[in-house]
């Protein structure tokens, strides 16, 4: 660990010095910014209470020289409190009993302190074309809680706006006209052309609507507890999205059909709507259907849970409803209520949130987690009801 810390610190300092030393009359000053984020999690489950805390430091560097931009960010996270968990403890007894006693230790997870370069990229652009090479943010999709066309990131529906890790790739954005854009991406995931990710995305603006078409081919992996090591196969995704306005309401749709090499083809879609009332009250609803999800909770098995937690499947149950109500109580305090409901098993998660901009560059965020479902359902209390207090100081 110590040598990794040294190497990454050395790499980041080297990038910093290279950026700072870059002599050019057109260059903007080196931009150094980021945040420090302490987080406290209190969890109550099965009659026991737990604490798991973390301190996260993110340092961003950015410098532009003419049409070339260099960017990187380093994230250092320290964990305290209960750091060792067995994933099986969160599952129902039926599912836990599927795992032989001798294999249960395989499901131990330890939160270790981490230091990594989250993004490091170079972007060359003129007014119509941009090429980006390196580890970068790639976040397609119009949905708020979940994104069927986004296979790069795995959103937490209970904290959907939290930042996502960078992805390696070479990306080309071309603006064909003011409201027509094409994006291509080559992501060398498996180290060979056939296995690597190849994405083409077209965005067209028509009137008050934006339409997006996505094609993506990549090597997908699906965990299979019953026949390890799982399924590794080619996946071809065809996606369609739109976002716009109908009868004064914001409306959007995001759908994907997945052609699988070995496993069954499946579709996934999400529709959403939102509205802002005169009082400032904002409401948002989304419905998501995932053909890979199960309709009867008694059919959920360990594969469903593992694939969900590993981000391989976006949902466990087939039909989900998401809701958000947000109200600016004062200029500095915003109240939110998020809820996620599984139509198939009737369980729900409710997340009340308070956002407080306590100082100019400091936010405090308090989130509750309340699960209503009984054991075995998607949002069951065995997952642990709790409270998250997160502060973020920007510099």
């Amino acid at each position: 660990m110590r040598s990794k810390v040294f190497l990454l610190t050395f790499a980041f300092l080297s990038i910093f010095l290279a950026f700072a030393a870059m002599p050019n009359a057109d260059a903007e000053e080196l931009d150094l910014f980021g945040y420090f984020e302490p987080q406290f999690i209190f969890l109550y489950r099965d009659g026991e209470s737990y604490q798991m805390n973390s301190d996260k430091l993110r340092v961003d560097l950015k410098r532009s020289v003419g049409g070339v931009e260099f960017g990187s960010d380093l994230i250092y996270t320290l964990y305290y409190g209960k750091k060792n968990w067995n994933i099986l403890d969160f599952f129902s007894d039926d599912i836990r009993n599927e795992v032989p006693e001798g294999m249960q230790s395989y499901f131990l997870v330890e939160f270790k302190d981490t230091l990594y370069l989250d993004n490091v990229y170079i972007r060359m652009s003129n007014s119509r074309i941009a090429c980006t090479f390196g580890k970068q943010q790639i976040s397609p999709g119009t949905g708020y809680f979940s994104n069927p066309v986004d296979v790069f990131n795995s959103k937490d529906a209970l904290d959907p706006t939290y930042e996502q890790p960078g992805q390696n790739g070479a990306r080309l954005d071309v603006m064909l006209s003011d409201r027509i854009n094409v994006m291509t991406l080559y992501s060398p995931i498996a180290g060979d052309w056939n296995g690597s990710g190849k994405l083409l995305r077209l965005k067209i603006g028509l009137g008050h609507f934006d339409f997006m078409f996505t094609g993506y081919e990549f090597k997908d992996y699906l965990t299979d507890f019953y026949s390890p090591p799982g399924i590794s196969e080619r996946r071809r995704l065809g996606g369609f999205e739109f976002v716009g306005e109908l009868l004064g309401l914001g409306v959007w749709f995001e759908g994907a059909y997945n052609f699988m090499e070995i496993s069954d083809d499946f579709y996934e879609f999400l529709v959403g709507t939102d509205y802002t009332f005169e009082s400032g009250l904002y409401v948002l609803f989304e419905y998501q259907r995932n053909e890979r999800g199960k309709t009867n909770y008694e059919d959920y098995n360990i594969n469903d849970w593992l694939r969900f937690y590993l981000g391989e499947n976006k949902t466990i149950s087939r039909d989900q409803m998401y809701g958000m109500i947000s109200y600016p109580m004062t200029d500095l305090i915003n109240l939110q209520l998020l809820s996620v409901l599984s139509f198939n098993d009737g369980s729900a998660a409710i997340v009340p949130v308070i956002d407080y901009n306590i100082f100019e560059n400091m936010d405090i965020n308090v989130m509750g987690n309340i699960y209503t479902g009984s054991e075995g359902k998607v949002y069951n209390s065995r997952l642990g009801n709790g409270l998250v207090i997160r502060a973020r100081v920007y510099f």
Binding site: S127, M175, G248, V251, E278, N361
Partner: protein, 256 residues
């Protein structure tokens, strides 16, 4: 740019002369049109500072670059400070009928529907509608000239604007005092959408300077009379004699 200013000046002089002859009086529509022309130059590139004074007397200051084109039909705001919003960008096209927001941490662009125009900009007393809609006084309201009044030590036209039936404007009625000489609205009173007698906000413009031949209010203060808060906006730098590319007002322009 000079030609446009001269055109506006000649238009103003003609309107005044005709009115003095007593044959044709200046109409409310003429005043609103000339005022809109004055407030929305063909292009602008500005550095702005917005300070919010909350009801608990706390201040929050935002610094942003503001670009506009086609007399305000296209506009783009990019936040520079504070760090928590740095890089966030708002693009408004078609007089803020189409709004996109860019979040740099996730590199995600989100399109907002027109109802979002009612939302406060960074918790301030300005809504997106207040900031981005250049032709709202013409398109969304019927205007009547009530008379002339002294306001902020300036001789002003007093106008009343009432919301058109099919308009989705966020206010039922506006009363404004437009200075006769420069056609700058020194005071605008905004009345609640549901109650046309309930004063919701008041906007005061001041410190008018001539920049690139265009009279420019360097300071604006919006008072929210219901929440007892205020937001002041000052122009730190502004240039009108600029050539802004259309490409700036695109998704790619937001990410630059």
């Amino acid at each position: 740019m000079l030609r446009k200013y001269l055109f506006v000046l000649v238009l103003i002089m003609c309107l005044e002369l005709v009115a003095e002859d007593g044959e044709v009086k200046i109409t409310a529509e003429d005043i609103i049109r000339t005022m809109t022309e004055t407030l929305n130059p063909k292009q602008s590139d500005a550095l702005m500072e917005m300070t919010i004074m909350t009801s608990s007397n706390q201040e929050r200051t935002f610094v942003y670059k503001a670009y506009s084109k086609n007399k305000g039909e296209k506009s783009l705001m990019k936040y520079l400070e504070p760090g928590r919003v740095k890089g966030q960008t708002v693009l408004m096209l078609n007089n803020a009928d189409d709004i996109w927001m860019y979040f740099p941490k996730t590199k995600r662009v989100r399109k907002l529907a027109t109802h979002a125009k009612k939302q406060k900009v960074q918790g301030s007393d300005f809504s997106y509608e207040d900031m981005g809609s250049s032709d709202e006084f013409i398109d969304d309201y019927n205007s009547v000239l009530i008379g002339e009044e002294q306001r902020s030590e300036k001789l002003c036209y007093k106008l009343e604007l009432t919301k058109k039936e099919n308009s989705d404007a966020g206010y039922s009625r506006l009363v404004m005092w437009v200075e006769k000489e420069t056609y700058i609205p020194y005071v605008i009173s905004y009345y609640h959408e549901k109650d046309s007698n309930l004063l919701e906000k008041e906007l005061f413009l001041s410190d008018v300077e001539i920049i690139d031949d265009i009279p420019t209010p360097m300071k604006m203060v919006m008072y929210n009379r219901l929440d007892n808060t205020k937001t002041s906006m000052s122009t730190k730098e502004v240039a009108y004699d600029v050539d802004l590319s259309d490409n700036l007002f695109t998704e790619m322009g937001m990410k630059k």
